[in-house]
Amino acid sequence: MKNEQETQSNVHEQPNPQIEQLLNRLLRQPQRVWRVLEYSSAYMGLIAAAEVISVMLVLSLPQSTAPLVAGLVTFTIYANDRLTDVDSDELVNTARSEFVRQHRQELYILAAMSYGLALTLAALGGPLAFGLSVIPGCLWVLYAVDWVPNPTLGFGRLKEILFLNSALVAAAWAATIVFLPIAVTEAPIDSASVVLFLYFFFGTFIGAEVSNVRDVVGDRAIGVATVPVVFGIHRTRYILQALNLLNLAILLVALSSSIFSLSALVALATGLVGPAVVIWLLGRVQNERGLSLALEYSRIPVLITLPILSF
């Protein structure tokens, strides 16, 4: 009888293994989904789509397929980049590199199909939208391939030229994000869109150079001239903070010229706080990968505040 009671009490004390398994599975599932989104770079596509939505909100553009096209194009480019750099990524981000290696085939096919769908949707938006969607793909090819075969001509890969490497990435990104929704909706290019282009251009340029900080040793070894390689971490901080402040100054000028409303300016300015903090931490904290990731998410406050302030 006593034994029976003890057994019953044990049954009550021990959690049901099936429930525990279910809970574990439910808890693990989001982690797994997030892992797939992060490692496959699909989250970059989501961020790009959200940024296009924010541009559409600021410029008051009608609804269109532009966010979807931008998201698909971005996913394609980043997925290809992950695939190209899978070997060099192994030292920096082993888990991601392992994931990419394991799903190499699927990731490439998915990226190819994604770009095919993006260009199809872009073609629906007209020639300009189509051209804007083609440009990032072309630049990706030029960026990664030895487009000038003779090194004695003095041109290396675009990747190896100071400022130009990050500027190209930033220009391609900013043009896609800002002008794609304009092209799809056949809206005119006005001052507000130019300011937005500069905002995203400088933001992306800063992001690219922050990422370059963790690759200093490798970039120096292969002769890629980035801001941290040429100027060192200390001076890189000053340069990038100056660019971030320049971005703020452009927004203030836009406000004073009545190009943007105050609510739009406040929302966009929230996207400059994150970069300022990350730049300040450069060289002061060891987790450079974390800093890069933090910078990628630094525009999330814009996406949150903009709809709130808009309505």
Partner: protein
């Protein structure tokens, strides 16, 4: 409807193009990616033309579509050539001329308003009154014919692969041909106005089927993963670079193919020998003997005696099993024959000479036990010393063989001979040795020390003349030093010389020791020659010709 289908072709073309692009540098990957990109451009421009609301915009996009139209056949031909292994034609010098017509086409399309070479009347085309072919100018048809010409040119190398014995290649090339034929047939039907398309060229739509076929070739038949391109080169490579000489003869015994090794063996060049009768090459005093006595082998030797070849013959038959020629392979076995002869000599020394001497020792030891005579003791000692001498010679042989594999240092010939002659004079004061040194600056391979010591030793030890005399002379030209040793001894037994000349021994015909063999082997390894002649009135003349070596560098 048409708009939707064209959009679908863009999605498929981009996906297929990116999949092909990833496979760089696999043969055919880049031209295929370019072809699919051009197809997407063509589809996209037609979509924009359909979307356009003004006449000018419609004509603009119609003309822009010529870029895709013009690029596709060139890319197709390059793809076909690369994929089937004709990569030597995928170079600027060939690409430039085949791109002339497409370039002119694009140029004419972009300047359409100044001529009527492309359209007789673009208004008629776009008004829907007539289709493009009805209003086509002369260059429209030139470009179309040229496109079909390149299309057919690209099919030819693929047809061979459809019949390939590798199943994957059959599948790949079949899928590629389907991918090509569908748009071509669609375009032909459009030009013949057999398809109601309201003036819109449906060819890019057919390219969506091409895209699926190409994707099928990539995924199902592993296009780019396994590729027939190396096959064409591999066969040539194996034939040209094989170590064995190989000759291809036709049924009339004319040489129709030959690799470098065969040219070297026949002491000719491929240019000279190709197209000439095989007999002329084989019987031009180059090969002086055929030996077919040993098993099924046919062994031939060059007249200079430096090289020997084992030849074999294989019939070449066609699909009806008729002989259409022969392949003759020449396998150089010079070294093998030398080693065989060396093993025969060593075998004889161990089996015969040492056994004889051992028997002498055993026999005399028995007699010593019973008679205890001084004479037998001397015989035992003598035999034991001869065994010791054989052992010494064996060590010399091993050293000589060893130097075949290792670098031999050059030595000054005068110093070498002077040292040997001085030592011989000390050991054999009764023999008069005359030395006529040549130049003081002659260097010869180190291994020749064993040659000269054996030559001089033989001339001195075996000299039974009452006034034994040996004369050593050195002469030289630019490349070769000649060392002649003349003695007045009894001369070398003919049997010994015959064995040396034949390079082989039998139980009944063999030499008496290792000395002559060591001389012959070491001279041969040093790339020299040795000859033996009778001296007048008695004795032997041994002449050693060796290449002069460069002065050793000071370290």
């Amino acid at each position: 409807m048409m708009n939707g289908v064209l959009l679908g072709t863009i999605a498929i073309g981009v996906t297929g193009g990116l999949l092909a692009w990833r496979e760089r540098p696999e043969p055919g990957s880049v031209p295929l990616a370019v072809m699919l990109a051009a197809q997407c451009l063509w589809s996209a421009t037609l979509v924009f033309k359909l979307q356009a609301t003004t006449f000018g915009a419609k004509i603009f996009w119609l003309n822009m579509s010529w870029i895709g139209v013009a690029v596709i056949p060139v890319a197709w031909l390059l793809f076909s050539l690369e994929y089937s292994g004709y990569t030597k034609y995928v170079r600027f010098r060939y690409i430039a001329p085949i791109s002339i017509v497409p370039t002119i086409t694009i140029g004419l399309a972009l300047t359409y308003q100044y001529h009527d070479l492309i359209y007789l009347s673009e208004q008629l085309v776009e008004s829907g009154a007539v289709s493009t072919p009805q209003a086509a100018g002369i260059w429209y048809w030139v470009s179309g014919a040229y496109t079909y010409l390149l299309g057919i040119a690209g099919i030819i190398p693929l047809l061979g692969l459809v019949r390939s014995d590798v199943q994957a290649f059959q599948g790949q090339s079949s899928a590629i041909l389907v991918g090509l034929l569908v748009p071509w047939v669609t375009n032909a039907l459009y030009l013949m106005e057999a398809m109601p398309t309201n003036g819109v060229d449906p060819t890019p739509v057919a390219f969506s089927i091409s895209g699926i076929a190409y994707l099928g070739a990539v995924t199902r038949f592993q296009l780019f993963k396994t590729n027939p391109s190396p096959k064409r080169y591999a066969r040539h490579l194996v034939f040209d670079q094989m170590q064995e000489g190989a000759l291809v003869l036709d049924n009339n015994d004319y040489i129709v193919g030959m690799n470098d090794s065969a040219a070297h063996a026949l002491n000719t060049t491929r240019t000279e020998a190709l197209g000439s009768p095989a007999d002329a090459n084989f019987s031009s005093n180059l090969f002086h003997s055929h030996d077919t006595s040993k098993s099924d082998q046919t062994i031939i030797h060059t007249t200079d005696g430096n090289r020997s070849y084992d030849i074999s013959m294989t019939r070449i038959t066609d699909f009806r099993n008729r002989t259409i020629g022969r392949v003759i392979t020449l396998h150089e076995i010079t070294e093998y024959l030398q080693q065989q002869q060396q093993l025969e000599v060593l075998n004889r020394v161990f089996r015969h000479n040492i056994r004889n001497k051992t028997q002498v020792i055993v026999g005399n030891a028995d007699q010593i036990e019973t008679n205890d005579t001084v004479d037998q003791v001397e015989k035992v000692i003598g035999s034991a010393m001869e065994i010791e001498a054989i052992g010494q010679k064996m060590r010399e042989v091993i050293d000589v063989f060893e130097q075949r594999r290792t670098h031999s240092n050059p030595l000054k010939l005068h110093n070498l001979l002077d040292e040997i002659i001085t030592a011989t004079r000390e050991n054999h004061p009764a023999v008069s040795i005359e030395y006529e040194p040549g130049s003081d600056e002659l260097y010869v391979p180190e291994m020749l020390e064993v040659v000269f010591s054996n030559v001089i030793e033989n001339a001195v030890i075996h000299n039974t003349h009452p006034e034994p005399h040996v004369r050593i002379e050195v002469s030289a030209d630019d490349k070769t030093a000649q060392i002649t040793t003349k003695d007045n001894g009894p001369g070398i037994d003919d049997q010994e010389l015959l064995v040396l000349e034949r390079d082989t021994e039998t139980p009944l015909e063999h030499g008496s020791g290792l000395g002559l063999s060591v001389i012959a082997w070491a001279t041969d390894i040093a790339d020299g020659e040795v000859t033996f002649e009778a001296n007048e009135p008695t004795g032997t003349i041994v002449t050693v010709n060796v290449p002069i070596q460069s002065t050793p560098t000071q370290e």
